[in-house]
């Protein structure tokens, strides 16, 4: 929302980030995004992340590829009509190899397309509400609150052991990047 203020809680430990997600979930503040340097099942559980649909993209890619491979092999074979040792021009047994290869290829395509589509990538505004330290070892919890309640949100994040940074419009990413890395309290 236009008048919302954004605060980032930065954590060295996974525990702190998980606790902050839990505390924010019980408050009236909104969690915008959570950053993790490594895949974290605990964070995913705390956020109650739903099962990804990427698998479905992969499956559809694979099924499409299977039939596409067969059709390509049938199409190319039928262009020449060469009969070799009495075997039919369109033979499904050898075309299975092409079908199999295309299954793998298009399943991978489906997987990548699904991943990009579902994560809304690529993004031009990725540096908005981002802290360079999140590319290192820090966990980050970005939370939003209505204007005037920033101190309340900051206090909540600090109680979980966060190093809190206000992600307001007057705090451009360049300035954040230039700031030296702070030791965790």
């Amino acid at each position: 929302m236009a008048d919302d203020r954004y605060l980032m809680g930065l954590f060295i430990e996974e525990n702190g980030a998980v606790d902050a997600v839990g505390a924010l979930g019980e408050s009236s503040f909104r969690i915008e995004k959570v950053f993790s340097p490594v895949p974290s099942h605990r964070l995913a559980d705390a956020l109650k992340v739903k099962k990804s649909w990427v698998g479905l993209f992969t499956l559809f890619g694979g099924v499409f590829g299977f039939f596409a491979g067969f059709l390509l092999a049938i199409f190319t074979a039928s262009r020449w009509d060469l009969i070799v040792s009495g075997k039919p021009v369109i033979s499904l047994i050898p075309f299975l190899i092409v079908g199999f290869e295309f299954t793998i290829l298009f399943a991978v395509f489906g997987n990548i397309i699904g991943f990009l589509f579902l994560t809304d990538l690529p993004r031009s505004d990725w540096r908005r509400h981002y802290d360079e330290r999140l590319s290192g070892r820090y966990y980050g919890v970005l939370a939003a609150c209505p204007a005037g309640r920033e101190q309340e949100l900051e206090a909540l994040l600090e109680r979980q052991g966060a190093d809190v940074r206000r992600m307001d419009r007057d705090d451009p990413p360049e300035r954040a990047a230039a700031r030296p890395e702070q030791a965790h309290p």
Partner: protein, 409 residues
Amino acid sequence: MTEDHAIDRAGKSRGARTAVTVFLVLTAGGLAAFIAGVLGPHPERAWQAYLINFLLWTGLASGGVLFSAIMQATGARWSGRMAGIAEAFSAFFPVSFILFLILFLGQSYLFPWLHEDLHGKEAWLNVPFLFTRDAAALLVLYGVGFRYLYNSLQLRFGGASAGGRRFREGLQRRWAGRRIDEAAVRRRATFWGLLYCFCFVLVMSLIGYDLVMAADPHWISTLFGAYSFVKAIYLGLGGLIITASVLYLKNGPDSGLTKDHFHDVGKLFFAFCLVWGDFFYAQLVVIWYGNISEETAYVIERTMLAPWNRAAWAVLLICFVAPFLILINKKIKTVPPAMIVLCAVVVLGMYLEHMLLLAPAISRSPANIPIGILDLFVFLGFFGLMAASLMTFMTQFPEVARLRKREAN
């Protein structure tokens, strides 16, 4: 022991006795049907059913024990109590060996090459040599299997009470008389487990070549041995999942099994569904490209000509396409009743697959697929033998089926 416990235990042993009785009745029914078939107008049909069942259940038993040996050899812990359940299949080994020896009586029906000109293959394909080498190979496989089992059981139950079971008391006395160095026993179990894996590959390949591929002595596939032992692993995993699922449904959490165990072993079953399909296709595509008449005649008869073409499609659907599509789903692998149905269907599909490979050579040019009530009875007879063997093992080692009280707590 409290009165309640005594009643509970008496009820369980009564239940076990009833189950063994049912299995033995099935076996007796199978035996009666087999004898009636042998004395009837088509003895080749009875011997064909016997051979198919021998191959099916022997593959299943040796493949089941292989799972435990692999877990031991690789130091895997994810399988938990599944490995202990897999060892129960070893109780079928002596039965399998006796069943193999009985095949000798049906040689004139089971080996169509006895009446053919073998063009120099007589040195390998003659009955005395075939039975000697196959019996020796099975003895080695089962001997190594029992040696592995001895060490594995010592690791699992070395310190437990025998509970008045005679065979187990003998083992416990033997173990008690020696100082048990756990690390040494573990090393021995790993060694014999690895040796079992090696023997399994060789012996299952040999049995595949001698009892299945040789039925058509002019057809050769170098991949057939590998195809045979991969099939035995696939069958073994199916049998293991069925047994574990039954124990889980009967004993619940007391079985020591969890959904994760079923998920993991289900993934392995899925993987071997793919490997079996791969080997099936790898043989087929090479023969298709080579297009040599000695090779293609075998495949054409079984996949393109009636009545076998229907069976070939059924095998492909039952043993590969259906399990592949169903097992893509994660949840189904964790539902024991569903897995019982799926694995049982795959085992039946493998029965049909053995029939597809053998029956065209044994039952020459039938109008329909030669399957009937006789085949059903013989199948149930072998099933009864396998189930009674498993029950016998679990009577001696009840911890395989149910956690001890101390473990459960």
